[in-house]
């Protein structure tokens, strides 16, 4: 066996073990219900913004925090406390939210939100119909 082959083999073994080790980094998608079984541990939760209850954000009180209500895929609704800043643009228009955070008490504390927003088509379909 050549030296290069041995070196390659070693590198591949190292790479595979590193990848397997970092595999633990990967989180899982949970519901509010399953996330509350392990309070304090962060998960990804997919949910939907409750348009009726809106957002409460008062930067005069705390510029880093706003709250809203979200319903997860199993239909459970929880108060969500976002602890990392101002409300992102269009959160109230989002079709779906992916929230990164943990359950503590009754609320879901999160510091990262991915939004899926309606496509341009739909937004402008409504404009077209009204005009």
């Amino acid at each position: 066996m050549k030296k290069t082959h041995i070196a390659l083999l070693v590198l591949v073994v190292v790479a595979i073990s590193v990848i397997s080790a970092t595999f633990l980094d990967f989180s899982t998608y949970e519901t509010f219900g399953s996330a509350s079984k392990v309070p304090g541990k962060a998960f990804h939760v997919i949910g939907f913004f409750d348009k009726g209850k809106g957002i409460s954000y008062d930067p005069k009180v705390d510029p880093n925090q706003f709250t809203f209500y979200a319903t997860d895929k199993s239909g459970v609704q929880r108060k969500v406390v976002f602890v990392n800043g101002a409300p992102p643009r269009d959160i109230d228009k989002s079709e779906q939210l992916v929230m990164k955070g943990y359950v503590k008490g009754d609320a879901f504390y999160c510091n990262g939100i991915q939004m899926k927003c309606p496509s341009k088509y739909k937004k402008d379909m409504t404009i077209g119909e009204s005009s």
């Binding site: 030296k3 390659l8 970092t22 899982t28 990804h44 504390y109 402008d124």
Partner: protein, 854 residues
């Protein structure tokens, strides 16, 4: 019966679509002709020549057609022909002219066009330079153009299958069924387009996509040469052009990627230049693979080894470009990326999978065809040889690429993982930490190898001399590491190692360039390239490790060191500070004051927020430095009722950047609750105190020079002279006017200073005697508690080392290219091709002559 529509301009679209068809057919014709020319090259040279001529003609026609499509689409966008879906969805009337080009790449059709455009231009260059490999390389290039061409066709097969989408689609076809399009005069209702995404309205976004796509397009050329070499079984001719094209691609793609980082830094507000976002990773990985391929290519040139792996790396680089396109364009990343493009659904998904399948099949087929006959060298290389360690380095770079693409592809392998574990996998909670934790080791190894391998020779290196030199470099860089590490508080040991690795590489490159290569510029390409790479590593380390938020003191969170519980981690991320108008707030070394917003709205409805930064002397408490920053935001961008879209503003120092952006701001149109208050001014010199300054009354004047006032005979017009002093010491004048017309009724003209939200009116003149009168001044100022911004401010130390490093690295690629193209010698696979490798250097001037270090 079809409705006759009025107000449409159909000609540009029809012409444009005509050119789409022409370009597609011409590329098909060209690919077929080139294929025939390649097949008949040996059996029928004469026939092959005529096929070749047809192939060339086809490709030139194809290029002309592509340029024409561009012109047609530009015409549609520039003339705001909103009957076209593309113009309507990506531009608007108020879009500044300089961003018209950005509209091209916001949409998917435009980016594919841009990609095709670069391919066709590069194809013309290959056509003129590839000589004996022209037929084969051009077959591949024309074939890829055929594939890309299908992306623009927009042809429907039945109700469900749609191949490609044309940029000349009409709005009424894109949104069939909307009631508005039943009206023949619908165009008179479509007044304006949807507008360009505001985060793309940045000058980096005008140049970053063309450069990045040029980089993607360039990776096709080494691919084409590799396939051509395998196809022909000629492993000599392809070498020089492939090295040249790989160098150009490395330079351009690298530039394009870092321009993207610079854009993100200046225009996106995630607070940095790199977030390990899938879209960024997807462009980095082909570059890494290409760089690995470049190094094995050099090994092959000098020793005849590593040819097989070179073919694998270079072809994989192009395949990864397509895979990246698949990841970023089909919406498969949807849940994981901040700026994943909206997918065009299933059609594109399968379209790209088919393309990827075709290219992969060709590569595997060609490799399998020649696998047994590929030249290999039976003997073993020496352990202390340049080729051995360069090979290890390439392998490590490749492993880095594999790790990154594995994590990025999480949504792709998620269904499989779900079947095995039963849980739906999600991306890591702390994405930055996930990548940094592994890539820091890659950086350490690559830094050391990039520095040390330069001192080795191909085939055999004299061990004693090598170790002496490396020892000297190690000692100098050790001292450098200690100094920087101490001053910059690099206290995490893996990052201290990375610091050493970067310093080692920098010292090694400089020492090698001076003492071994004698600073002869033509030989310095690799040295400069490695120096730039090492500087980039140092810049990344310094700017990221010590990046700190000054708007809410936190440090060192960027590398995601564990803070214990999730709760503690999240507390660390409270990084916004509220700034009320005129209130001074401490931020790091500075005091920041929000002093108002831009009074005039630009054409593009951007609002600039003025934030004054002062650095105070710790003893005298006097401001030693003052500067203004103007982070801006679009409040309620078009079609969005909530929130804002912000652009950062940055103060650049040589050693660090102060970076600010707005996270929230008052919407003045909604929140102003202030009312006018009356002030009686008895004498000139009387003062009114304002929320953010004061105002003095200087007396009356009958000289009225105001454009808003048109004198009428019999008018009596008087102004009150007011001087406004703001907190920053600035002085402005106000002259509200009081007019008595026909001795009957009074009118008043207000005067305002928008930047201070100050409104004044001369309400009454109360005459006391012949020559004295009081003035009643009405003053309205927005309540400062209603006027605030929520700001985030960060300090990036030594970020210029990163930008400088990237520029130096790119320079290195071009110096190498210059040398390669300048050399008259015919490139052969031989060990003698590297005369620069110390052979003409007297041994006694080498670095090792310095006293050995104990």
């Amino acid at each position: 019966m079809a409705t006759e529509f009025t107000g449409e301009h159909l000609l540009p679209g029809q012409l444009g679509y005509f050119f789409v068809i022409i370009s597609f057919v011409a590329s098909l014709f060209s690919a077929f002709s080139y294929l025939r020319a390649a097949q008949t090259e040996t059996v029928d040279p004469f026939g092959s020549k005529s096929w070749l001529r047809m192939g060339r003609g086809g490709f030139i026609t194809h290029t002309v057609a592509i340029v024409s499509i561009f012109v047609a689409l530009y015409y549609v966008i520039a003339n705001h022909l909103f009957e076209y879906h593309y113009a309507w969805s990506h531009s608007s009337l108020d879009l500044p002219g300089k961003y018209l080009l950005s509209c091209f790449w916001e949409g998917q059709e435009g980016s594919f066009m841009l990609w095709m455009f670069w391919h066709s231009i590069l194809g013309l260059v290959v056509m003129r330079t590839a000589k004996s490999l022209e037929t084969r390389t051009m077959t591949i290039i024309a074939m890829v153009q055929v594939i890309l061409g299908t992306m623009l066709l927009g042809i429907h097969f039945g109700p469900d299958i749609k191949v490609g989408s044309t940029p000349f689609l009409l709005l009424r076809h894109a949104m069939q069924g909307a009631p508005i399009f039943s009206m023949p005069n619908y165009m008179s209702f479509v007044k304006d387009g949807n507008g360009l995404n505001v985060s793309l309205q940045n000058y980096w976004m005008v140049i970053h996509p063309p450069v990045l796509f040029l980089g993607f397009a360039l990776s096709l050329i080494p691919f084409a040469y590799c396939i051509a070499a395998l196809w022909k079984g000629d492993y000599i001719t392809f070498l020089k052009p492939t090295i040249a094209w790989t160098l150009v691609c490395g330079a351009i793609l690298g530039t394009g990627i870092m321009m993207g980082g610079r854009w993100a830094y200046e225009s996106l507000n995630f607070g940095g230049y790199w977030a390990w976002d899938p879209v960024e990773n997807a462009s980095l990985v082909p570059w890494l693979t290409l760089i690995a391929g470049l190094h094995t290519l050099l090994i092959y040139r000098s020793t005849g080894r590593a040819l097989t792996i070179t073919f694998i790396f270079l072809t994989l680089s192009q395949l990864l470009v397509w895979y990246s396109t698949f990841l970023t364009r089909t919406g498969i990343l949807g849940k994981t990326s901040v700026h994943a493009f909206t997918g065009d659904g299933q059609a594109l998904y399968y379209h790209l999978l088919i393309v990827l399948g075709i290219l992969l099949a060709i590569t595997v087929w060609m490799l399998a065809l020649r696998w047994r006959k590929l030249p290999r060298i039976g003997s073993e290389e020496a352990t202390l040889s340049r080729e051995f360690w360069m090979f290890i380095g390439s392998a490590v770079i490749f492993i880095s690429a594999v790790m990154i693409i594995f994590s990025t592809s999480q949504p792709v392998w998620a269904p499989l993982a779900k079947m095995i574990t039963g849980k739906e996998p999600a991306p890591p909670i702390d994405v930055m930490k996930h990548y940094n934790d592994t890539q820091v080791w890659i950086a350490i190894v690559i830094g050391i190898l990039a520095g040390a391998t330069m001192y080795m020779k191909y085939k055999k290196t004299e061990a004693a001399l090598l170790w002496r030199r490396i020892a000297v470099v190690a000692v100098i860089s050790g001292a450098m590491t200690f100094t920087i590490g101490y001053l910059q508080h690099i206290d995490a040991w893996q990052y201290a190692l990375m610091l050493f690795s970067a310093c080692f590489s920098i010292v090694a490159s400089i020492a090698y360039g001076i003492s071994v290569q004698k600073t002869r510029i033509k030989n310095l390409g690799p040295v400069i390239g490695h120096l730039g790479f090492a500087m980039s590593l140092l810049g990344i380390l310094l700017s990221s490790f010590n990046k700190h938020v000054i708007s809410f003191n936190t440090t060192g969170i960027d590398f995601g060191f564990e803070k214990g519980s999730e709760e503690a981690n999240m507390k660390e991320s409270r990084e916004n500070e509220i700034l009320f108008l005129g209130t001074k707030v401490a931020m790091g070394d500075y005091f920041a004051t929000y002093t108002g917003d831009s009074s005039t709205q630009g054409k593009d409805k951007r609002v600039y927020y003025k934030v004054k930064f002062e650095r105070l002397d710790s003893v005298s408490h006097k401001a030693t430095e003052t500067f203004m920053l103007y982070p801006d935001a679009f409040i309620n961008p078009k079609g969005n009722e909530s929130g804002l879209s912000a652009n950062p503003d940055t103060k650049h120092y040589l050693t660090h950047d102060v970076y600010t952006f707005i996270n929230s701001a008052t919407d003045k149109s909604k929140s102003d609750t202030s009312t006018y208050k009356s002030h009686i001014m008895h004498n000139p010199g009387d003062t009114i105190y304002l929320d953010n300054g004061f105002m003095t009354f200087d007396g009356f004047s009958k000289e009225v020079n105001d454009k808003r006032y048109e004198p009428v005979a019999g008018d009596i017009a008087v102004t009150a002279k007011l001087t406004v002093h703001d907190m920053t010491g600035g002085i402005q004048h106000l002259s509200p006017i009081y007019i008595v017309r026909n001795k009957e009724y009074a009118t008043r003209i207000e005067d305002t200073i928008k930047s201070m939200d100050l409104y004044t009116r001369l309400e009454n003149i109360i005459v006391k005697s012949q020559d004295s009168a009081f003035a009643e001044i009405m003053v309205r100022q927005t309540n400062p508690k209603d006027d605030y911004i929520v700001l985030k401010a960060l300090v990036f130390p030594y970020i210029n080392v990163l930008w400088g490093g990237v520029i130096v690295m790119v320079l290195g690629f071009f110096v190498s290219l210059g040398k390669l193209l300048g050399s008259k010698t015919k490139t052969r696979v031989s060990a003698d091709l590297f005369p620069e490798d110390e052979t003409d250097m007297p041994a006694n001037v080498a670095l090792g002559e310095r006293p050995p270090v104990k």
